[in-house]
């Protein structure tokens, strides 16, 4: 996988690229992009995979002016300009799904098809109940149990992680807090803009996801004009991590239906 650094609006973006074919912008979830993981290889088998690390995640910079997900949406639209890509397929996971939804409301014409996997970003339920459980108010063990279908398999103890990688993980969490603290995990405006998205959208979630519920996913999808929902078995909030083959297969099938690529 090739990596490079691209400067957009004062943000130095770490960028990964692999494969050939129709361009696919992949926006990672709350734990960052892992170029060595099987999902990255699978996704790049039938597409030109373009995977930036969000500002404040991985090794991407975080300019002072960035305070919300909306800012990231504009940065990535500018990234598409920079790369000379008029139209792409868009895949976003978790907070990456939120960024993807924001991008698509701002420039609906630029996306051929969109996949939102375990996306956050809207408020669908009552004011006195969080749509997404408060990940900042629970022990790590409980968060792992909500995140993963098989937490024992996915959870790594800090002792086994080198300092540099541990620092990246901690910074990812810090940047997530910056972006998603208040309003918690959503932009109140987004639900009133989602009708602008006119391309086909697939909403996905892992069946064991304890953060994005099936009800939330369906309410979110109902705010769009051309959305369908699907689920992936034996996976939690990050099906790309727990079921990379099934995840890539679902996406490839959905993206391929009109082009036959």
């Amino acid at each position: 996988m090739r990596s490079s650094t691209i400067a957009i609006a004062g943000a130095s973006l770490e960028m990964f690229e692999a494969g050939a074919g129709a361009p696919m912008l992949f926006l990672h979830g709350c734990d960052g992009f892992d170029p060595a993981h099987r999902y990255a290889a699978k996704l790049s088998e039938q597409a030109r995979l373009l995977a930036p690390s969000h500002p404040g995640f991985g090794r991407s910079g975080l300019p002072d002016w960035i305070t919300e997900v909306d800012d990231l949406a504009y940065i990535y639209l500018e990234l598409l300009d920079h790369l000379g890509l008029a139209t792409v397929d868009l895949v976003g996971c978790s907070i990456g799904g939120w960024i993807a939804a924001e991008m698509a409301t701002k420039a609906p014409g630029r996306f051929r098809r969109i996949v939102l996997s375990a996306p956050v970003g809207v408020k669908t339920g009552p004011a006195d109940k969080l749509d997404i459980p408060d990940i900042f108010a629970m022990p790590e063990e409980k968060l792992s149990a909500l995140m993963f279908h098989d937490p024992a398999k996915e959870r790594r103890e800090a002792a086994a992680i080198p300092d540099a990688e541990l620092a990246v993980r901690l910074r990812n969490r810090e940047s997530l807090a910056l972006l998603a603290w208040e309003p918690y995990m959503h932009n109140p405006k987004l639900r009133h803009r989602l009708h602008r998205i006119d391309c086909p959208v697939l909403f996905l979630r892992g069946e064991s996801d304890g953060l994005v519920s099936d009800e939330y996913l369906r309410r979110y999808a109902a705010l769009l004009t051309d959305a369908r929902c699907g689920s992936i078995a034996a996976a939690g909030h990050a099906p790309e991590v727990e079921q990379p083959d099934a995840f890539a297969a679902r996406i490839t099938a959905f993206l391929g239906t009109t082009t036959g690529a």
């Binding site: 002072d64 108010a137 800090a158 541990l166 901690l170 969490r173 910056l178 603290w181």
Partner: protein
């Protein structure tokens, strides 16, 4: 040396600690009995009044959603004290301005108390301890930057007297800022900042505000004070840093015999041992630097948390977080810390905690005030101010 009686107004009528997850943030308030709470407020105010009678300053602070400090709106208590007292300096340490959404409102509250008390306010500001983040719904990321912008705005609001000005900053926006009343003290009440980190202290030193640090013991306090002095000198405020720019908070209990002192000291330890807080509230992401978080995941522990697990009066005295005993013993203990950290001008006395009863608290205050304080004042006088405007906190730079 100036001494202050500090009480957190704790509510200690709690079930066993193993029956709840956290004494902060999530502890249900059905455990708070307003009748008992009202009696506690009366009692703690009476103790502050004893402190005034004995010539000590009065100090209070603010925390939220916690039984350890049931003073979530310290300016209200301060207003009551402003009317109940007549001579004591009133130190609020402090206003949690990273978590207050309207700095201008804070400037108004403090100016009002300053006028109510006819200029007896000592105005402290804090970022707020990490467990305040959840209670305040405040973003833990960039909270230092927020604190400094709020502080600058408050001081400008206090010192601007020619009609409205506007502020369009990074965190706060306000178009018409023209507070009534303005502060009683000119140019403004002395400013205090608390921090337990050397990085923060250097910045406070560069501004010349009063720096307070809490329960940091021998080496921790020295690191904070050294950083302050370095920051002060680097900013060109003069070679000599007046000791009354530095304050240290410790658990203090004085009695006329060792047995009584020991009994009081044991009860004061509650302040450290009762602080049961799970990690996700004690360390929200972004509150401390990433390098500190890596160290914590590698097993590093906050010195105070480490201490709390095996807390004892001896260990607390040994570490310099407690001064307890007969007047001679207390004086010796303070003298030892004073020498180690390079001097300080304010002793902030945690003189009440948990199960320390009213009579015991009052006895501790009186013994200290009558048998330790006079010697402290004589042995450790304030050093002469070297900077213009010095007595008002916030040194005027000589340039």
């Amino acid at each position: 040396m100036k001494a202050w009686h500090f009480s957190e107004n704790a509510y200690h009528y709690l079930p066993p600690a193993d029956s709840y997850e956290s004494i902060r943030v999530t502890l249900p308030n059905r455990l708070y009995d307003p009748e008992k709470g009202a009696a506690l407020y009366d009692r703690f105010i009476d103790e502050w009044l004893v402190a005034e009678e004995e010539g000590l300053g009065i100090m209070l602070n603010e925390h939220h959603q916690t039984a350890t400090c049931v003073d979530p709106a310290a300016p209200l208590m301060l207003a009551a004290l402003a009317r109940l007292t007549t001579k004591a300096r009133l130190l609020i340490l402090g206003n949690p301005i990273s978590n207050r959404r309207q700095p201008v409102r804070v400037a108004e509250e403090m100016a009002m108390v300053d006028v109510l008390s006819r200029g007896r306010l000592e105005c402290g500001f804090v970022r707020g301890v990490p467990y305040e983040i959840a209670a305040g719904n405040s973003n833990p990321v960039r909270s230092n930057e927020r604190q400094w912008e709020a502080l600058d705005l408050i001081i400008k609001a206090w010192t601007t007297h020619d009609g409205p000005f506007s502020h369009e900053g990074r965190f706060f926006h306000h178009r018409m800022i023209n507070i009534w009343p303005r502060p009683y003290q000119q140019p403004h009440p002395p400013v205090w900042i608390s921090t337990t980190s050397p990085g923060g202290a250097a910045r406070v030193g560069a501004r010349g505000y009063v720096q307070a640090t809490f329960l940091t013991g021998f080496d921790g306090t020295r690191a904070v004070f050294d950083a302050y002095r370095h920051g002060w000198q680097k900013a060109g405020l003069g070679a000599h840093v007046p000791v009354h720019r530095l304050a240290y908070a410790a658990l203090v209990y004085t009695a006329d015999n060792e047995q009584a002192a020991r009994a009081g000291a044991e009860k004061l330890l509650w302040y450290v041992t009762s602080n049961k807080v799970p990690r996700h509230f004690a360390n929200p992401p972004g509150y401390v630097p990433i390098s500190a978080n890596v160290a914590m995941l590698r097993g590093a522990e906050h010195p105070l948390s480490a201490f709390a697990r095996g807390a004892s009066v001896e260990a607390a005295i040994e570490r310099g977080i407690m001064f307890a005993g007969t007047p001679d013993q207390v004086l010796r203990q303070i003298r030892k810390l004073y020498g180690h950290v390079g001097g300080f001008g304010h002793l902030l006395i945690m003189g009440q905690a948990g199960f320390l009863e009213h009579d015991e608290t009052v006895a501790g205050i009186r013994h200290f005030a009558r048998h330790v304080y006079p010697a402290l004042k004589e042995e450790f006088p304030d050093t002469a101010p070297t900077v213009r405007g010095d007595q008002h906190g916030g040194a005027v730079r000589e340039r």
